[in-house]
């Protein structure tokens, strides 16, 4: 991958992950794919990019008092159990099926939020 392209991926991913507190990874995946990364490597590398970016954003959110630690911390244990499942499934489930399922969930969620 060209260094300049890598810099562009980072800028877009970082800004979106900062403004929406999420979603950087989902943008990074297709961009990494365009750079010739195999699908599973795209997903894994997107996490490697978004982790440090999330650390940076979380620091600034925290500094501004925008983090409710009491709500956030108890979610981590069930989240980690889900991660174990995710890591297992990433090797087993066809990528296209994953995308379709996730796309439907996102569309339903967005309509719900736009109607609120």
């Amino acid at each position: 991958m060209k260094k300049s392209y890598s810099l562009v991926i980072g800028s877009i991913t970082g800004f979106i992950n900062g403004i929406f507190g999420s979603g950087g990874g989902i943008l990074a995946v297709p961009m990494l794919h365009k750079a010739g990364f195999e699908e599973r490597k795209c997903h894994a590398s997107s996490i490697a990019i978004t982790l440090p970016l999330s650390l940076v954003s979380a620091f600034f959110y925290s500094a501004k008092g925008s983090i409710d630690w009491k709500t956030a911390l108890p979610l981590i244990i069930p989240g980690l159990i889900g991660t174990l499942f995710g890591v297992f499934f990433l090797k087993k489930i066809p990528n296209t099926l994953l995308k379709r399922i996730f796309g439907i969930i996102l569309i339903i969620s967005s309509i719900r939020m736009l109607m609120l």
Binding site: M1, S22, K41, H43, S57, S66, G79, T96
Partner: protein, 123 residues
């Protein structure tokens, strides 16, 4: 907030997040729509939640040699600057408008994922 529902939501988020499918977006929807938490607070919670999840899945992915570290270091450098700018933009916009922008972003990503072409692995 209902503990059982929270645990289920966190579990599902963990699965999606570890796959790089942007599971955090689902957690934010859960926190804002079902728990009545403001958009910015929900985003802050998701960022904290994502850190240990990402760390643990990275260990597995790294062992499976799925990460091209050399290629992505420049992304992390510019991404950190972008993350700071994005965080300030979020604070400036405020939760009500940010929530609608976020929903629009979800819709675009959702449609793109749903209608994405079947892709064969390149490498």
């Amino acid at each position: 907030m209902n503990t059982v529902f929270s645990c289920i939501a966190a579990f599902l988020t963990g699965i999606a997040a570890s796959m790089g499918l942007g599971g955090g977006m689902i957690l934010i929807v859960f926190l804002t729509v079902f728990c009545g938490i403001s958009q910015i607070e929900a985003q802050g919670i998701n960022l904290v939640f994502f850190i240990p999840i990402a760390l643990s899945s990275l260990i597995f992915h790294s062992k499976n040699k799925l990460i091209e570290w050399r290629d992505i270091i420049p992304s992390i450098v510019t991404g950190s600057i972008g993350a700071i700018l994005g965080t300030y933009a979020a604070e400036h916009i405020g939760s009500p408008v940010l929530g609608k922008l976020f929903a629009g972003f979800l819709l675009i990503v959702g449609i793109k994922e749903l209608f994405s072409k079947r892709e064969k692995d390149i490498k």
